[in-house]
Amino acid sequence: MFILLFLLWVALNGKITVEIIVIGFVVTLGVYAFAWKCLDYSVKSDIHFFKNFFWIILYIFVLIYEIIKSSLSVVLIAFKQDIEIQPQIVFFEVKLKNKVLLTVLANSITLTPGTMTVDVEENRFCVHALDKSMAEGIEDLVFVKLLMKMEENV
């Protein structure tokens, strides 16, 4: 993570000089110490990240695919002659335990148009869906399967 932060600093500056490298080193050290102290960061989580690297890349592509798919259906609904929709609020449970992964799941549900996370308590989700068809397969989303595999690796 230290190297990533340092590369980010250099990329934002756009050029490499001695001053930028020295100042960047100090600032990166400060941010690193903050993450260590206040954000529950440790080297362990870095190792977990690299173990799951393949799944994370796959997850991003699946997320983009799902967003495009559900956006198309929302666009089609918005341009219909007469709008007939049945909004639903669905409560369901997932088997995940890791808090970070639960947050990722909630964010991806909100990010796909048509469904929106209203509340999360432990592993119970409350999701608002624009139409019945969008709420149907919500219990066994693709996201949940991928995140389960990530949790096994940890």
């Binding site: 918005a78 669905v90 909100t110 148009p113």
Partner: protein
């Protein structure tokens, strides 16, 4: 030349999505449904426009910064809409008129 064509197509597609969101905002009646349509503009619309710009600027530092913009949009947007939705559901007492409640859990 090909770069220009691809980026134009991406930007126009993104603008179509944003226009759809604007039209949808007028056509839907209830708050949460409106937010669903509005979030299309934030996720797909904005990221299509930005990816068009990425293709246009090619492989450079500018495109790296644009990728970071997409990442930030996608991280920050769900948090805001989640809180709006939560507030609406807590505040609205006639929520059952608008939506049907389905339970799949074992409570």
């Amino acid at each position: 030349m090909i770069k220009l064509i691809i980026s134009t197509i991406l930007i126009v597609l993104g603008l179509i999505v944003v226009i759809t969101a604007a039209v949808g905002n007028y056509r839907f009646a209830y708050v949460l449904n409106r937010m669903q349509v509005g979030s299309t503009a934030d996720t797909l619309g904005a990221s299509l426009v930005i990816s068009g710009l990425i293709v246009y600027s090619g492989f450079s530092l500018i495109s790296l910064k644009l990728v970071m913009m997409i990442v930030f949009l996608w991280v920050a947007n769900p948090v805001a809409s989640h809180f709006l939705a939560k507030t609406e559901i807590i505040e609205n007492e006639d929520i059952l008129d608008e939506c049907e409640v389905v339970r799949h859990d074992s409570i």
